[in-house]
Amino acid sequence: MTAIPIQPATGPTKGPAEGEEGAPSTAGGAPPPPRPRAWRALARDKGAVLSASYILLIVAMAVFAPLIVKVSGWGPYEFDQTAVDPNLAGVPLGDWGGAGGEHWFGVEPGSGRDIFARIVYGARVSMLIALSATALTTFLGVLFGLLAGYLGGTVDWVISRVMDFLMAFPALIFMIAILSALPAGNRSTLLVVVISVFGWPYLARIVRGQTMSLARREFVEAARASGASSAAIVFREILPNLRSTIIVMTTLAVPGYIGTEAGLSFLGVGVVPPTPSWGQMIASSVSWYSVVPTYFAIPGAFLFLLVLSFTVLGDRLRAVLDPEGVR
């Protein structure tokens, strides 16, 4: 399970029996490094191309948010009381939640803030948190996986027990507990740290297994015989062989983190208002859903498509690169 399960994740599954096995059972060992042919196959795959394009669009939106908002005319924190009807508790004027030339996606009921601007800035927050959490998780997962798999012995025992412990936790509940207990200081950083602390074992477990089987291979023995240091063996011989696995696992982990961030913000322990985040926008739309359905439909659709794109891309990458052990 790559993700912290707000929803069951798409990644590898967590049968307890699997976790206790040492190395992947197949004798073959290392997955081949990605070949140019693999990338060409991916470029011909319609689903993969569409997903990648959508992801790039959202990334561009996040990066150029201030510029985009200049063009659309309304910032994410500006209130437009002329766009809502004060006599109807602030229901947006006009059809489709007040969408039109002035406010492209309509306005928030009540406050009259521009939804388009908040989507654009929300992309910034969501992507930043999800990608930082992915980077940190990947770093921790690869580091501890390599250490446990290569050094073995006591180090392996300690790391494996910590992983068992973290994976036996109801991660979402614990994240909520921690986030609600800690003072609401810098929530974004806290979110990244908390997500990563509970996320790294899922990658580390697979890296550990593959490292164990790679460490027994001839080319590693040859490197050792020719006097290479442990660090050189790990970084020059073993790590390059883990590339496919890491790419696939990472891609499959991102949608889980996006969903987790949105879910935690939805529950009110994530990103703090007024900073926009997609999950939080959906949370505030709950009380309006029957009157102004576009208010939840727009962030909901953006979120759904982003998670879908990462999932499809991860699936296709896995099919093309075909690393072992990532199931």
């Binding site: 707000i6 307890p16 936790f169 109801p170 509940i173 939805f266 529950l267 759904f304």
Partner: protein, 331 residues
Amino acid sequence: MARFLLTRLAGVALILLLVCLFTFGVFFVLSPDPAVQICGKNCSPELIERIRTNLGLDEPLLTQFTSFLGGLFAGRTYGVGEGATHCAAPCLGYSFQSSQPVWDMITDRLPVSATVAVGAAVLWLLAGVAGGLIGALKQNTWWDRSAMVVALSGISIPNYVFALVLQYVLVVELEWLPFPAAVEFGEDPARWFQSYLMPWIVLAFAYASVYARLTRANVIDTLSENYVRTARAKGLPRHLVIRRHALRPALTPIATIFGMDFAGLLGGALITETVFGLNGVGKMTADSIAKNDQPVIMGVTLMAAFFVVVGNVVVDLLYTALDPRVRVRTS
């Protein structure tokens, strides 16, 4: 086998102890002073001091932790003399908001959550395995592709978005269903079913999708095994090959994940119950988060961890019962 059980149980005890330690650490050491929060707005330093003494917050951390553990297993008494209150085991403390014992709050709301969880579990197991079987047995046909597209959407749509869409379409637009309410089965079975139908579907959709993908992959894998080829070569008809040789190894992993997922269901119930306004443990937790009612959050955390850890053990035992190969390895 006895030794296997013993080590396993020792591991469980250790993990549960660590869970308690962790929860205690988060709520008593990291978080802002609980006494100040109980005290509320009209507070004086003397009152804070009294609350601190009553709750034992002025004692050393180790003593606090042991009385916290003692409360869990044997109950504890807060304060001394006149104002002393006894909190029976398992003592999870009192809500900051309503001053009710947390344990009673949880047990009161457990039936609603259990109804949501069990119904959803039945639905997702049936739908997931059926979808996966269709996908695997009719591989690369229209059936397979549509099942997998549905599964992909189920994995990608956040459950609160799906809940809102479903509620908007079925309740507001089409008016096929009434707004969900926690009706008891005895009162009005039809209304009961209508109320729980949407929560079941929402909670089940994502899990069913994962199970469908997994079942499909597993069945396709098993069908390419040598013993399946042997069975086919013997002249066994296709449906018997599938029923006798392919299904059991393909579905065993599903059974184990099911145990884990079911035990960890509270995370999903939190969101589903909140959106549909069902007054279960999940909604109670979400409300407590909003009001920063820490004893309740802590109690739910402990209970959820307990379920997951126990679920883990049950799954392990189930796995040994279902898969003969594991039995050989452990003995």
